[in-house]
């Protein structure tokens, strides 16, 4: 009974004096659109608003029609709320899913200036001009105006407004779990499944989207289990499951994705219901589950009836009305009309009467229902109008009266005069749709049930079973037995001895689950002219819109969906799909199963991006790799640059130095005395096995079989299309043991590549590859004074060219540290790449710096390294190459064996176009004005004054000012470049400056004869 007796539907206390699962000892305050209201712990925002007599909670997407709360669950299309404050604001949250917490702040959406007075509602007035897809037919003239039209269309569209402070203060976690049985949905049949599987000893995860287990049983007051109220059985079942170590119970957890191989994703809303997130807890946690078997117990969605004004606030799903009364202790109205095509709504009618609501009538579209529920309603003196339909739910911001008429149930035609019933609540039911979303995501198939008018699961693609209502079994006792059986079978399939948990003795009203098959909208108006009867409430799609689409030739269900936007709203068609199919089938004079269904896709209900991203953002978005010497570089003022996952010391500016100053100083030092580079990031792969040399012989273009132990060789690796992929120096440590180096950015890709060839093409080769990049620190000492510094450091091996020639390596000690020294050079100077076990890297580096101090040793970064190698004309893979460059294009024919039978890329290099004269070839460039530095990426043309599009020769790949040469140098890939030595080309500038003029040269700018290699 009501505590107050106000008759004003738009206000007043609608809380029932008793009942419900709310905690009446814990009153809470919350605000909606700035006004403060009261509710209780255990309320949803929706139930609390209804308790306060607030039904108008939003405006619709297109027509800005007043909208109220229609459902009591996650399928709610109307009551979308902007929840929270500041950085915690979330738009588009369903009021039916928001658990009330103290001082909750909420706002309505899509209205201006206010919910009661919304200017957008003018769309409703011109609605006749705005049928489905009207926007494809207009806004085309003049063409130049489209962007303006669109600006206003965009402003009108969208739902809620996102947070203005964009820095989400909350934390999100992820976890992975394996389980024997995942039970999705903790209603009656889900609990039974979990009991069967849990008792068998299987690891079980039971996930339910709501704040407590029990599902729809929590909303039934007319049902007993084993002679007790349903909630007692639920409590016992939950207590038993919670006591099992092998069972994990997750409330507020939505399974939203079902992928191949029983891989499912779910989002646990850990603290959303608290309002404040405790510091030590995440807001949400995403679970990634691998389940041996899945039991889907998702239940059903009730379908709205399609009649004029069915979107009016105060028109609700029948089962939702029952839920608000029984579960939340609120009456959604004072004078109710129940309208239905099936038995279930009679239970709502009885609940309304029991709650003291004045029930005007039950409008039953069926001709002569003679079921126990109908008899019971009549016995209790309820007016039951059979063969009648609701034609229009009239009202402005709330339903005020229902227009009712007698119909012919076969064709929906009106056969008698209409009459009106005053009411402030319409409870509607058009039957139930099993929730098969996850089943369909997992590629399960569906069959149409012509009796119950719904799709039911038929065949499965994964190890899964739908149970209970989601399996089309609506009778509670049968559904619970179905769940018990599936739980046992799942446990058995997972290797346990499962047996069916005994279903309780159910005492509930006996129901006929066959709704009347009548999809036509009952109307006394001309076609298209009646009041709007909605199918997709959120997207404002009406029955007329669906019919229009079909008339225009959009017959596929996918076409109808996309043309009208039916089913594309944030509820993804949960309440609209079947109604739309019914109308399409009617219109095409076909059967629903022939019309087909649209594809169900992840997520079942929206999942937060924050939750899916988890902690893989900010510093953890991608790991930063660093060397053992990085701290030293930081301490010495280095600036760093990104190279793949690495941050590398780029240059070391001294006080007051610009980047150019610093780089030039470093470059000069390396040529005139000594420079030291941290080369630890270079990829390093340890290769062993009796076929190691043969393997290298196949992956590099040059010959490797006869490389002596102790010697190093430079190699180019090609993709199978003949294009340069990576390069590096590889050394023969032993007969069957090599140390390969790769580019810094290419290391992982090269290992991947080698493994792929080994594993898929040449499994017969005995070769083993291991990444050792992280195991070595590398200091590269370069310059004319390098040898002196090595000697000063007490190098344990002789350094003369005879004993330690260029392109060889030695194991030695240096400064007392174990090292492997490679005499190789990327600068053209005498150079030692000194490898030491990673942990000793910093010590070695410091020792070298100390020993070199008297010579003016200078640490240099990657930028100086680039200039130094460019002075020598050495390429960098990824800079001089882009996946379309052959060794010949680079002028590196010398490294391509003419004798080898085969190597990766050989066949591709024999293709006709590989020897064309107009291929882009690597050349050097010297600018006319030695101070002009051509921007890297600039393109060469012969005639800078030609019209667009210009005939381009190719692009500059590297370009620097060379302090050692005192002029600008560049490398470029130019069409036919090798035959253009000495010719002049121009580089048009994109910043409006005049073109830069340059001469084509060889790429070896500095020490072309290589005389400095020995110091």
């Amino acid at each position: 009974m009501f505590k107050s007796s106000s008759k004003n539907h738009s206000g007043g206390d609608m809380r029932l004096a008793s009942g419900g699962r709310i905690n009446r000892d814990k009153p809470l305050q919350f605000t909606f659109d700035g006004k403060t209201y009261g509710g209780y712990e255990g309320d949803t925002l929706a139930s609390a608003l209804i308790a306060n007599g607030v039904h108008l909670v939003g405006r619709s997407f297109k027509y800005h029609r007043p909208r109220g709360i229609m459902t009591a669950g996650s399928e709610e299309p109307n009551a979308l709320i902007r929840l929270g404050e500041g950085a915690k604001i979330e738009p588009n949250i369903r009021a039916t899913q928001i658990e009330l917490y103290p001082n909750l702040k909420s706002e309505s959406q899509n209205r201006w200036p206010s919910l009661n007075f919304d200017l957008g509602a003018v769309n409703s007035v011109v609605a006749r001009m705005l049928p489905a897809a009207f926007y494809y037919k207009t806004f085309m003239w003049p063409a130049s105006m489209w962007m303006t039209y669109e600006h206003f269309i965009r402003k009108a569209a969208g739902l809620g407004k996102a947070a203005t402070d964009h820095n989400d203060p909350d934390r999100y976690e992820k976890t992975n779990a394996h389980t024997d049985v995942l039970v999705v949905g903790g209603g009656a049949s889900g609990l039974m499944a979990a009991l069967s599987a849990g008792r068998a000893g299987a690891r079980v995860i039971l996930a339910d989207e709501q704040n407590e287990f029990g599902g729809w049983l929590l909303s039934e007051s007319d049902t007993t289990l084993d002679g007790h109220a349903a909630d007692r059985w639920i409590a016992d079942a939950v207590a038993e499951l919670e006591a099992m170590d092998n069972v994990t119970m997750l409330k507020r957890t939505t399974v939203f994705g079902y992928m191949d191989h029983n891989y499912l994703t779910m989002m646990e809303r850990v603290t959303d219901h608290l309002g404040e997130t405790p510091k030590h807890m995440p807001r949400q946690k995403m679970w990634k589950i691998r389940a041996k078997h899945v039991v889907l117990a998702q239940g059903t969605h009730e379908r709205p009836l399609v009649f004029g004004g069915n979107d009016r606030p105060g028109v609700m799903l029948s089962s939702a009305v029952r839920s608000y009364i029984t579960r939340y202790g609120v009456a959604p109205g004072r004078r109710a009309v129940v309208v239905t095509n099936n038995d279930d709504a009679y239970r709502t009618a009885l609940a309304l009467v029991d709650a003291g609501v004045y029930l005007r009538a039950i409008i039953d579209m069926r001709p002569a229902p003679a079921t126990p529920l109908v008899s019971e309603a009549m016995r209790r003196g309820i007016n039951v109008y059979t063969s009648h339909a609701l034609v229009d739910a009239e009202g402005t911001r709330h339903v005020g009266r229902a227009k009712v008429a007698r119909i012919n149930p076969k064709d929906g035609s009106i056969t008698g005069d209409a009459f009106y019933l005053d009411c402030d609540l319409v409870a509607m039911s058009a039957g139930f749709t099993p929730i098969v979303n996850l089943h369909s995501q997992a590629r399960g198939k569906l069959d149409w049930d012509d009796q119950q008018l719904c799709f039911r699961p038929s065949t499965y693609h994964e190890a899964a079973q739908c149970v209970g209502a989601s399996n089309g079994i609506f009778d509670l006792g049968d559904a619970m037995a179905d769940g018990a059986k599936a739980g046992a079978a799942a446990a058995t399939a997972a290797g346990f001895k499962g047996s069916d948990a005994k279903a309780p003795q159910v005492d509930a009203p006996v129901q006929d689950y066959r709704p009347l098959a009548l999809w036509k909208v009952v109307s006394d108006a001309n076609p298209g002219a009646g009041p709007k009867a909605f199918i997709d409430f959120q997207n404002d799609v009406t029955a007329s819109d669906i019919k229009l689409a079909v008339r225009e030739g959009y017959h596929s269900v996918e076409h109808v969906k996309r043309y009208t936007t039916n089913g594309m709203a944030t509820d993804q068609g949960k309440t609209s799909n079947i109604n739309a199919l019914g109308i399409i089938a009617d219109q095409l004079d076909d059967k629903i199963p022939n019309v087909g269904t649209t594809t169900f896709r992840m997520p079942y209900t929206p999942a937060s991006f924050g939750g899916i991203a988890g902690r893989e953002i900010k510093g953890l978005f991608d790991p930063i790799r660093g060397t053992r010497m990085d701290q030293w570089h930081h301490d010495h003022g280095a600036t760093f640059e990104h190279v793949g996952q690495w941050m590398r010391a780029w240059y070391y500016p001294q006080s007051g130095e610009s980047m150019d100053d610093a780089v030039q100083r470093e470059v000069k030092a390396a040529r005139t005395t000594a420079g030291l580079l941290d080369a630890s990031t270079l990829g390093k792969i340890d290769i062993r096995g009796k076929d190691a040399a043969e393997f290298l012989n196949r992956v590099y273009t040059n010959a490797w079989l006869k490389l002596p132990v102790g010697r190093c060789r430079y190699g180019l690796m090609l993709k199978d299309d003949g294009m340069v992929m990576d390069d590096g120096v590889t050394s023969r440590l032993g007969e069957n043991h090599f140390h390969m180096t790769t580019t810094t950015g290419g290391a992982a890709g090269v290992l991947d590549w080698l493994e792929e060839w080994h594993q898929t093409e040449w499994p017969e080769l005995e070769v083993y590859m291991t990444s050792v990049t992280e195991q070595w620190s590398v200091s590269t000492l370069s310059g004319p004074n390098a040898k002196k510094i090595m000697n000063k450091l007490g190098c344990s091996v002789p350094l003369d060219d005879e004993n330690f020639p260029f392109m060889s390596f030695k194991d030695a000690t240096l400064a007392g540290l174990p090292v492997r020294i490679f005499r190789i050079s990327f600068t053209g100077e005498l150079s030692y790449e000194i490898n030491t076990p990673a942990r000793l890297g910093l010590a070695l580096w410091k020792n070298i710096m100390a020993a070199g101090e008297e010579f003016g040793i200078t640490p240099y970064g990657t930028e100086a390294m680039h200039v130094l190698r460019a002075e020598k004309g050495f390429i960098i893979v990824g800079q001089e190459t882009d996946g379309s460059v052959t060794p010949q294009d680079l002028g590196m024919d010398w490294i391509v064996s003419k004798k080898k039978d085969d190597y990766i890329g050989k066949r591709a290099l024999e293709r006709a176009s590989m020897s064309l004269d107009n291929r882009k070839q690597l050349v050097g460039l010297v600018t006319e004005n030695p101070k002009d530095i051509i921007p890297e990426g600039a393109h060469a043309v012969l005639d800078p004054n030609q019209p667009m599009p210009m005939e381009m020769l190719g692009q500059v790949t590297s370009s620097y000012y060379s302090p050692n040469l005192g002029k600008s140098i560049a490398m470029a890939l130019l069409k036919g470049g090798h035959k253009m030595m000495g010719e002049t080309v121009y580089f048009p500038m994109i910043d409006g400056q005049p073109p830069i003029k340059a001469t084509i040269t060889d790429t070896a700018f500095y020490d072309p004869k290589g005389e400095k290699i020995n110091g």
Partner: protein, 431 residues
């Protein structure tokens, strides 16, 4: 409107009633009961002058241009399911032409020029919106790559502007340009003429206009075999009977290898899943299309208000229109990293399509060894933006039995000669 492109007979010359604000008003008066069908549902004839297999955007565009430019109206489009149901209906709708290679720039800009004015050509509002496509660089290497692109693009006469992080922030207030993040925004380049279009409308607009010119669009008609006579095509076997034709164009993204096999043609194609997703709709926050290679994602906001996100292809071959979860997982992390506002928005819908990719990440528009049989495929992740250009040059190839200058580089024999158009190098995910 671009010069030099033959746009054919535009504006529904076949006599269909045109769409306009006036037709809307007129039909409103009769409660929208009298709208004409957008296209017929004809029974297949026994023979046509040409058959296009595949009723997606490219196939319908091909048919439309065959009819409107080349006057071939006795033609049919056969589609195994519903028109526009393949990649046309499941892409992220991005349109741009700022490609690096001359051959790519030529065909994508040809397409872009056709996009400009296509709404009026077809009398169907495609919501082609030139809101700009901004590609972001996150490292010096990427900036160098960007410079190369911008120089090439500009000298190809295509618009492209370089933006600093501050200019990017001014244009896209949502973006995080904090230089301390893992991959900071270091710069970007903008193609102002780029943007988006309503993907379904493209298929419907072409279908309606082609139908207007007499083209038969036959849905729910799957090709099951190719009929050949003496090295030439003679028709196709379908689930709705044999249909004869001396010219057959195959435009079936996702399944071109399957169709190729029917004619004993082995294509250098790998078919892989590509995934995309949208958020719940919010009020306008993002006007520009943003693409990023380093963090691997692209994003725009649709007219409906949804944030539309995409990333790279899954790494395995598949014909199932679904992908693996790590791809969207990473894509979303990348999006949250660049646009922290997304953290408290929610994923509404996720889907997958199948893209056919060539080794050089460029398409095939080609004659084959079977006379009269033509293939247009291998667009990878870049197909939607090319739709009008692809249809236009493919129609030209079919009508004249020789490729024009734009189509010529895309012939199948490039995999023998090695004259590849390698968009891998600089393309990354950027489609």
């Amino acid at each position: 409107m671009a010069q030099g492109i033959d746009r054919g007979r535009t504006g529904l010359p076949g006599g269909k009633p045109k769409y306009s604000i006036f037709s809307l008003a007129r039909n409103a008066a009769s409660y929208h009961q009298d709208w004409q069908r957008a296209w017929r549902a004809p029974e297949p004839k026994k023979e046509y002058d040409a058959i296009i297999i595949g009723g997606g955007g490219h196939g319908l565009a091909t048919a439309y241009y065959l009819a409107s430019v080349h006057g071939m109206t006795n033609i049919a489009v056969v589609e195994k399911s519903w028109l526009g149901g393949g990649n046309t209906g499941r892409n992220t709708t991005i349109i741009r032409s700022n490609y690096m290679w001359d051959e790519s720039a030529a065909i994508y800009d040809h397409a872009l020029k056709l996009w400009e004015g296509l709404t009026q050509d077809l009398n169907f509002n495609l919501m082609f919106s030139q809101r700009g496509v901004l590609t972001i660089a996150h490292s010096w290497g990427e900036l160098r790559e960007m410079s190369r692109r911008v120089h090439a693009i500009r000298l190809n006469g295509i618009d492209s502007d370089v933006l600093t992080p501050e200019e990017i922030k001014a244009k896209v207030p949502l973006i995080n340009i904090d230089q301390s993040i893992r991959y900071p925004v270091m710069g970007g380049f903008l193609q102002k003429r780029g943007g988006t279009a309503r993907h379904d409308a493209v298929a419907w607009g072409y279908a309606r206009a082609a139908d207007d010119l007499g083209v038969d669009i036959i849905q729910n008609c799957e090709v099951t075999g190719m009929i050949r006579k003496g090295g030439a095509i003679a028709g196709v076997e379908t689930t709705r009977g044999t249909i004869k034709a001396k010219k057959v164009g195959v435009v079936v993204a996702g399944h071109c290898s399957v169709l190729g096999e029917m004619a004993d043609i082995r294509l250098p194609i790998a078919s892989r899943p590509l995934q995309a997703l949208v958020s719940e709709p919010i009020k306008p926050e993002l006007d520009t299309v943003i693409m990023s290679n380093a963090v691997h994602m692209y994003i725009s906001q649709s007219d409906k208000g949804e944030m539309v996100l995409g990333a790279g292809v899954d790494k395995y071959n598949s014909y199932a229109q679904r992908g693996s979860f790590p791809v969207p997982e990473h894509m979303i992390a990348a999006a949250v990293e660049l646009f922290p506002i997304l953290s408290r928005l929610r994923m509404l819908r996720h889907w997958g399509g199948i893209v056919d990719t060539c080794p050089d990440a460029s398409p095939i528009i080609s004659k084959t060894d079977v006379k009269g049989l033509y293939f247009n495929c291998g667009w990878g992740t870049g197909g939607f933006k090319a739709t009008p250009g692809s249809g236009h040059v493919f129609a030209d190839l079919i009508a004249n039995d020789r490729p024009n200058k734009i189509a010529a580089p895309y012939a199948l024999d490039r995999f023998q000669t090695g004259l590849l158009i390698d968009e891998h190098g600089a393309a990354g995910v950027a489609h």
